[in-house]
């Protein structure tokens, strides 16, 4: 290895990219998935709220009304925001990688090269199946680079799976 250079060079200019990923060009998930998510959040919200009644009902604490109110409010906000949250989920099949986004307050964008695919799963929960929806999991060797696209119509999920397998096959890379 060589000695450090005498004069540190300024950072290499970055690629000319927009300030933030654009909102266009995304393939969105089915609006029916809102139902699945809302039902899920209502059920879990009710359960959490029920549990938060324990201090009031069993221990008769004077301030016992606070936990149910807080938990109930959080659950309500979560449920009310679900339609927007579901609409924020999107994916793009780019030339060489799969781009995925989700989240409102906490936005997350993930790019995974097709060649890194280890396997593709299609899962169907009972409620999603009743609505004809599937969940597609694009699994790589890194847990954080595993993409889960929920709420795809069954036919679309299967077509996407075959497409991804084909793309991965043509761009196969090692581990």
């Amino acid at each position: 290895m060589t000695e450090p250079l005498e004069s540190p060079s300024p950072p290499a200019p970055l690629v000319d990219a927009p300030d933030w990923p654009s909102d266009t060009g995304w393939r969105r998930v089915s609006a029916k998935y809102i139902v699945v998510d809302v039902v899920g959040y209502i059920v879990s919200g009710l359960m959490m709220t029920a549990v938060s009644f324990v201090p009031l009902v069993i221990f008769h604490w004077s301030l016992g009304w606070i936990p149910p109110v807080v938990v109930g409010a959080i659950a309500l906000i979560t449920v009310l925001l679900t339609p927007r949250r579901v609409r924020s989920i999107g994916y793009q099949l780019r030339e060489d990688d799969l781009l995925f986004r989700r989240g409102l307050a906490w936005q997350r964008f993930v790019a995974v090269p097709y060649g890194r695919m280890q396997l593709v799963d299609i899962n169907r929960g009972p409620l999603a199946r009743a609505l004809g929806l599937s969940e597609l999991r694009f699994v790589t060797a890194a847990a954080a680079a595993t993409i889960v696209v929920p709420g795809l119509p069954e036919a679309e999920a299967e077509e996407l799976r075959d497409r991804l397998v084909g793309l991965a096959e043509s761009r196969r890379a090692g581990l």
Partner: protein
Amino acid sequence: MSSSSGFTDGDWHRLHPATPFLRGGLTLFAIVGILVVNLRDILIDNIFGDGRGDDGEPLVLLAESGFAWIALLAVVVLLAALVIGFYLSWRMHTFRITDEVVEVRSGILFRTHRRARLDRIQGINIQRPFLARIFGAAKLEVNVAGQDANVQLAYLGSQASDQLRREILGLASGTQRAEAEAATDAATVAQLPLVASGEVHPVTGIAQQRVSELLAPELDPDLAPPESVVTMNLGRLIGSLVLSGTTVALVLIAVALAVVFARTGEFFFIAPLLPILIGMGGFYFNRFTKSLRYSIAGTADGVRVGFGLFSTSNETLPPGRIHSVQVSQPLLWRPAGWWEIKLNRASTSGAKGAAGQANTTILPVGNLTDVRKVLGLVLPALVDPESIALLERGLTSSGDDGFHNSPPRARVLRWFSWRRNGFSIVPGAVLLRSGFVWRRLVVVPLARAQGSSLTQGPLERRLRLASVSINTVAGPVSASLGAIDAPAANAFFTEVAAATVASASTDTTHRWGAGRQLPPPSLTPYPDGAPA
């Protein structure tokens, strides 16, 4: 004598004949020994004494009870069954190595058959527990990606296993067989003539060989060019132990005890702490003896990491099996200028590294010279002087010197480190620099990145900041960086996504030796430095 181990001819082979003994037969021998000692007492009594042993000895009681013959028969049958069992398990345990795969078949009633592809090898580990070393045997473990995904050959002849590893790596590298053999021949010219296991030798010869093996240096000097070798410095090892978190805990316990004693005048508080203290003593002893003969060296087939005083272990990581590298400096080590280097790897070997740490710590403690050497070994793709200079500066530097840093408004989230918290993209790799108190530099070779992500929480959105991370296989190193200027983060995300694809498509390390006679492939993942 040929320098080939003879195992790579594609036929099924058996393990070292001492295997059953080394794998647990020792207990059997101990039991037999105890029986013999007891029986000898009875025998001596029978011949010279009054024909009776001491009353109350179980064997004497048995001898007098009239069931002696039945008991003796049972013991003999049991012993025979065990010996036959061990023998059969040894006979049924076979392995073969072809040009493509390594396979192991084992088990008597429940057969297992494990097959690993050679081009998927993540590392080959040779362990020599102390007992096995005395018998000149070694355990060879071929690791592939995945949890507990390894093919273990326990035990082989000590020298044959070194030879076998060289041959497996030669086959896996994709170098043609003839060339591989030529290469291994050349590599072993300077070595002692190899002794294949099971050959008859004069006892003195074997004894001499064992002694020379036990006294041999940890790293065979012919294996790697000396300028690539990093060894452990005794003073630094002791210093790193003294300045470790365990010592801090020990001092805290001592202070707490002193306070309690001063207040109460009672000693019994020590009793529950004794196991902890003993455990700490064990930690120091273990770490010291294991790290004492620590060496890292660059061989033709990858990085070799070896350690151990009594039980030794050494592993070879072929090129392109390292998914991310972290150089970090605990606060206590800063005055001494010591660093620690950790890796993410796709395989999780059952074998522990030096100091009983996971074998992801490749350099337990080292100074800047060691760090430079090790980084050169684990990041062979980083060749241009500018990137290397940037990497070395990145360990300690801060400010606008080749890294894209957090903007001043990130001070809210990175109080001290905002001038240092930054990234740099060099050909083939990404450098993430962070930490003002606990300095940290993470390097991810883009050819190994599994994906990249860009995240932004509510607070970051208000400050127009974002976090980026490069997703690699699981391990102690997490390649992520928070509080980056949002547009810069998006540019990073865009560029890294493109560069990952480009690096992965030009990566040939799964057959790293296939182009060995050709000049090394261009390491610039994209020609103009700025993909579209």
